[in-house]
């Protein structure tokens, strides 16, 4: 998909996700696209971005071409400022040190809830997925950016299982359930960038990616889309972004 533009869907996704981060932030990144996007942002625009990993890492600088196979591998600690316990690094989220959580999922719904546990009925699942890992904690305790490939079966009205809470059933339901802070504020896909409205907390399109029409986006989405009043068009990846990204992941470990 999107090969015509000279970059892959995964590359676009990574680059657009990286743009959501600001210098000086503390970001808790999951493995895969989030890790790669945070590293890209750090090398490109945000030298003061502090990246946290679930394995227990603060302030890592991932080396180009040495992407870790998980956020629990020693490669995640290269030139880190601090290595600490897994519970300790998650407790930083609970205490409130973290600006942004950043991860993916198998399914997302209109309220930004993520599923990475079950496809189908959890009692008799069609597919048992790996599970939450730190996802539930990150989503429960921080503001979230979600990066996902855009497919109709992944963008659903209601996820089969709320692994990592977004706004739950919308409106005030997240706060009412006891989750006092955080919430999904961006969903980035290879087709568009989404935000959430302030009242209903329902997903809305903020900008369409280059060459994507409203109709194409709706066709690939499992619920009726809302569009922001001032719908934008995403800036395409720059040569610099693509170049640096390909340096980071020359073996296409995450962007294959």
């Amino acid at each position: 998909m999107l090969r015509k533009h000279g970059y892959s869907a995964a590359e676009l996704l990574t680059i657009l996700s990286a743009r959501q981060l600001s210098d000086g932030q503390v970001v808790f990144a999951g493995v895969g696209i989030p890790l790669l996007a945070a590293t890209l942002a750090q090398r490109l625009r945000c030298p003061g971005l502090t990246i946290l990993f679930e394995g227990g890492v603060i302030g890592a600088f991932i080396e180009p071409g040495k992407l870790p196979p998980s956020t629990n591998d020693q490669r995640c600690t290269k030139r880190a400022n601090m290595v600490l316990g897994s519970a300790e690094v998650l407790l930083l989220l609970q205490r409130g040190y973290v600006d942004v959580g950043f991860m993916g999922g198998a399914q997302v719904d209109q309220y930004g809830n993520l599923n990475s546990s079950f496809i189908g009925d959890p009692a008799r699942p069609k597919t048992r997925l790996p599970g939450t890992g730190g996802g539930n904690d990150i989503a429960s305790l921080a503001h979230m950016i979600v990066a996902m490939k855009h497919e109709k079966r992944r963008f659903v009205e209601h996820v089969d299982f709320v692994t990592s809470p977004g706004y739950l059933r919308g409106g005030d339901t997240r706060r009412a359930s006891g989750l006092l802070a955080g919430g999904t504020f961006r969903v980035v896909t290879d087709l568009a960038v989404f935000g959430f409205d302030a009242d209903e907390r329902r997903m809305q399109v903020m900008s369409l990616n280059p060459g994507v029409s409203r109709e194409e986006l709706q066709d690939n989405t499992g619920f009726v889309l809302a569009f922001a009043p001032h719908l934008g068009v995403t800036e395409p990846p720059t040569d610099q972004e693509l170049e640096l990204l390909r340096e980071l992941d020359p073996d296409r470990l995450y962007t294959g």
Binding site: D73, T77, Q94, P130, G135, L141
Partner: protein
């Protein structure tokens, strides 16, 4: 009450006083505990609740798990922060019918574990999912000798709905809703470390994961270690000791004891073997797994023979990469 009886009667956990009595019964003096890998398996009984150190492919006590499968252990309940191919082996060998963790697959590089899927989706085994922090807090409560820890995650999610073992609770100080997650005190913990002395004073370099809490929560600890060092060396830097000797019951010197997984600063994962493994078992989660277990678990006469099957080139390459973390 023994683990097996607890499991048979559906009793979830030992009481506080039972836990204390189990500790007091043990010889907690500074004594020599070095045993062979085979001897160490005697510290794990059928039906035990077994806590596993490390996370995903890192510092997994693979050698000890391998030995327990060879020794024919059955009915284990295994808890770990994140479960990788160790869980495949435990399910498929019949050693374990219940996994408690936050994430379970071979690793992000290979998608969903077909072995996990095969066993869980068929209903043959149980996989209890907790959030990662909840796993950590359950071990921590166990380590601290209290019945629970309060947390602010899992609330509102379906992960929480599947875990009636956790209790929602209005904080008497603030009125806030909190989740109380119950202490997890495994009968035995399996932990691999870079070095320890013959008494069990252990140092862990780099990523610690949940191992310190797990060690203190468990009733018994079996350490496997890359290297046994002198007690004098430990005593020269006592602030580097992460697990105290009196929590430890057995020490096994087992170089490359995490293979084909990683041991921080010593070797990275052996990805060629992992690729081969995943190709085999995800191709056919029953026969592929059977084949792997026959050839790599029951086949070798010793752990060294297993390592030889992985191949000296891959071991050396993994070691070179592992040590490179210390390059400035």
């Amino acid at each position: 009450m023994a683990a097996k009886d607890r499991k048979a009667t559906g009793k979830a956990a030992p009481t506080y006083l039972e836990l204390r009595e189990e500790l007091l019964r043990r010889d907690r003096s500074l004594r020599h505990k070095v045993v062979s890998l085979e001897e160490a398996t005697s510290f794990v009984r059928d039906g035990d609740s077994v806590g596993i150190g490390g996370s995903t492919m890192s510092r997994t006590p693979m050698g000890m798990i391998w030995a327990l499968i060879r020794a024919g252990r059955k009915g284990l309940t295994c808890s770990r922060s994140i479960v990788s191919s160790d869980g495949d082996l435990l399910y498929a060998s019949g050693a374990c019918d219940h996994v408690v963790t936050s994430w379970f697959s071979q690793g992000i590089l290979w998608g969903v574990s077909k072995v996990m899927r095969h066993h869980v989706e068929s209903g043959k085994v149980r996989y209890d999912e907790w959030s990662h922090m909840a796993m950590g807090m359950r071990f921590r409560a166990g380590a601290m000798g209290v019945p629970f820890m309060p947390i602010r995650s899992m609330l509102g999610s379906d992960v929480r709905k599947q875990r009636p073992e956790a209790i929602e609770f209005d904080c008497p100080f603030t009125g806030e809703k909190l989740l109380l997650v119950p202490a997890l005190n495994p009968d035995v913990a399996l932990i691999h470390v870079q070095r320890c002395d013959a008494y069990g004073n252990a140092q862990i370099d780099g990523l610690q994961f949940m191992d310190v809490d797990l060690a203190m929560a468990a009733n018994k600890v079996i350490l496997t270690t890359e290297r046994i060092v002198s007690n004098d060396q430990i005593r020269r830097a006592p602030d580097q000791t992460k697990i105290p000797f009196f929590a430890v019951d057995a020490v096994v010197e087992l170089p490359f004891g995490c293979a084909p997984h990683e041991c921080y600063g010593v070797y990275e994962p052996m990805l060629r073997h992992m690729e081969y493994y995943v190709g085999l078992v995800n191709g056919d989660p029953v026969k592929g797994m059977q084949q792997y277990i026959e050839r790599f678990v029951h086949g070798p006469k010793s752990w060294s023979e297993f390592l030889a099957l992985i191949g000296i080139d891959e071991l050396l390459e993994a070691a070179r990469a592992g040590e490179s973390i210390y390059d400035a």
